[in-house]
């Protein structure tokens, strides 16, 4: 369970996140909002990577007070535009996700190898496991990085724009994977830009604008034409296709 108590973040003298409060307990939670709204900063704050005011508690424990390794075991963080500095093989890269679980100087044990294999299997990377990461396509790379986060098997998964650079088929695959993580009992928080995918796959949406939490609820409650108009400055068609929600931005105003 993640509890945000009036979380604020100031970066370079500018208030980027302002008084966000919410209780997040299980399911896939979509963080949506325009560019620069503070979504990524909020995710980094939950991951314990930026200084925050207010409280961020995971299962009642403040993130700020956690030991780094303990925090890493509880939170898997998939950043936006992850850089990989050395051309490790897919399997070695995914294995990095197990680092917080390893005792000092211990090699990955049976549990770790199973988690790595499972993450590779779920992201359909088993056949690529020995390929160096710099030889993969953008979509394959994104899956490897997601697999790295999944291998941690943390109760909280933070994914910052996990769908960027993915084609529609892989976007659906990734959302299905995030759902499966939630079904396993994890809380998944994902920053998303595609409102249709957000509406379709998330249990709950948090709409952020200018650092503030504007709306919090089920997708149909949050994504109204009025809100989309005032926050994104677009008119939008909101409807259904085959029983699934469909949101099409029409024009910038």
């Amino acid at each position: 369970m993640v509890r945000l108590e009036s979380v604020s973040v100031t970066l370079g003298g500018r208030r980027v996140v302002e008084g966000v409060g919410a209780d997040l307990d299980g399911g896939v939670i979509g963080l949506i909002g325009p560019n620069g709204a503070g979504k990524s900063t909020l995710v980094r704050a939950i991951a314990g990577l930026v200084q925050t005011e207010g409280g961020i508690l995971i299962d009642g424990v403040s993130v700020a007070s956690m030991q780094p390794r303990d925090r890493a075991r509880r939170i898997a963080y998939l950043p936006q535009g992850q850089i990989v500095h050395w051309p490790l093989t897919v399997e070695r890269l995914v294995a990095l996700g197990r680092l917080p679980h390893l005792a000092p100087f211990a090699r990955p044990g049976e549990v770790d190898m199973r988690a790595i294999g499972h993450a590779l299997e779920r992201t359909e990377l088993l056949s690529l496991r020995n390929r160096p990461i710099d030889e993969l396509s953008g979509g394959e790379r994104a899956r490897v990085l997601l697999a790295r986060a999944l291998a941690a098997e943390a109760p909280l998964l933070l994914a910052d724009e996990p769908l960027a650079a993915l084609d529609p088929a892989h976007q659906i695959d990734v959302m299905a994977l995030l759902r499966a993580e939630a079904a396993r009992g994890a809380t998944v928080i994902a920053v998303l830009h595609d409102l249709t995918l957000a509406a379709r796959w998330c249990d709950r949406l948090l709409l952020i604008d200018q650092g503030r939490l504007l709306a919090d609820g089920r997708p149909a409650e949050v994504l109204t034409a009025d809100r989309i108009g005032s926050v994104y400055h677009v008119s939008a068609f909101i409807g259904e296709a085959g029983g699934e929600p469909l949101i099409v931005p029409l024009s910038h105003h």
């Binding site: 980094r44 991951a47 314990g48 990577l49 780094p68 390794r69 303990d70 925090r71 890493a72 075991r73 939170i75 963080y77 950043p79 992850q82 850089i83 990989v84 500095h85 050395w86 051309p87 490790l88 093989t89 070695r92 890269l93 990095l96 996700g97 680092l99 917080p100 390893l102 000092p104 160096p132 710099d134 790295r148």
Partner: protein
């Protein structure tokens, strides 16, 4: 046998072979029979004196110093995530060399043979202070690299100044020859001086292997994986100052080993920074032992300086790497 164990074993044998080869080389022509008998303690007194007092310390120092330079190069390339990093990039070798030059210039080195290495180690630590101050504010590697370049430049200027104002030509030559790096005329005293420094330096580096792996995902990625980067930075800076400081103290400045060796061994590893540390140390030991054997086998009047030979070996390898730079290392 795993792949990583195999490469470690091959490099260990290579290093030992190079060291053994260098035991057979020197101005006095002994022949392998006498050298091996002396090593086993059953040789004639002259051979035993030459092998045990002159050649063995030299071979051991080549292995130790090469290992330190190679290991530090691999660690710094991993930490700074920059394939061009080496112990020189932090300015440590330069400030250590400046310390040594100060000892020579002001005549401390003439008082006691231990003064020169002592001053070099002091120089290495003194170089750390501005580095920590300059780089303390930012987490990124760029500030450290730039600070290191500034410190190395300042130390280089100091060495030039000493040459500039040298009281007489002999003093200038003495400074120059020490600075260019050599293992000639070293004794077990130097081994005992360098050994603890290098053991501590390499030990600290190996402790940080996992943090270096985590840094593959950048600073924020590593922090999210539970790495304590402030600790890692402190440990690696201390390792470099103690280890490389101790190495430069007894050998003078030896370039390119720390830069080149990680590149040479990287293709044989799985490219995780941690899996590069031990092979780089072993490869550095082999390279420096080979270079030290080489300087003694070329038929010149004056032995070429070790730092010069490692650079001569290093530059072509380095250029080869640059040519292939299209592929990421």
């Amino acid at each position: 046998m795993t792949k990583s164990l195999r490469i470690d074993l091959v490099l260990t044998l290579l290093a030992l072979a190079c060291a053994l080869l260098s035991l057979g080389l020197g101005p006095a022509h002994l022949g392998w029979g006498r050298v091996l008998a002396a090593l086993a303690g059953r040789g004639d007194p002259i051979a035993e004196t030459i092998v045990w007092q002159l050649r063995l310390p030299r071979a051991l120092l080549a292995l130790l110093i090469g290992a330190m330079l190679g290991g530090a190069g691999a660690a710094l390339q991993g930490y700074l995530r920059n394939p061009l990093a080496d112990p020189g990039v932090l300015g440590t070798s330069s400030t250590a060399a400046l310390g040594g030059v100060v000892a020579l210039y002001y005549g401390f080195a003439a008082i006691n043979p231990l003064m020169l290495p002592l001053f070099a180690i002091i120089g290495a630590f003194a170089g750390l202070i501005p580095l920590l101050l300059l780089a303390a504010r930012s987490e990124g590697p760029l500030a450290l690299i730039l600070a290191g370049v500034a410190i190395a430049t300042a130390a280089g200027a100091g060495i030039s100044l000493a040459l500039n104002f040298a009281p007489n030509p002999f003093a200038a030559v003495e400074i120059m020859t020490w600075w260019m790096g050599s293992l000639a005329d070293r004794s077990f005293l130097h081994v005992w001086l360098a050994l603890p420094c290098i053991a501590i330096g390499l030990g600290l580096i190996l402790l940080e292997g996992r943090a270096l792996d985590a840094l593959t995902l950048g600073e924020e990625g590593a922090t999210a994986l539970g790495a304590d980067l402030r600790r890692t930075r402190l440990m690696l800076l201390a390792a470099t100052a103690i280890g490389v400081g101790g190495a430069v103290a007894v050998s003078g400045a030896i370039g390119f080993v720390g830069l080149v060796v990680p590149h040479l061994v990287r293709p044989f590893t799985d490219r995780r920074p941690s899996s590069l540390l031990i092979p780089s140390a072993l490869g550095g030991a082999a390279l420096l032992a080979a270079a030290d054997a080489l300087v003694r086998s070329v038929p010149t009047l004056e032995e070429p300086r070790l730092g010069v030979v490692t650079a001569l070996i290093g530059v072509p390898v380095f250029l080869h790497q640059l040519m292939r730079a299209r592929r990421q290392w």
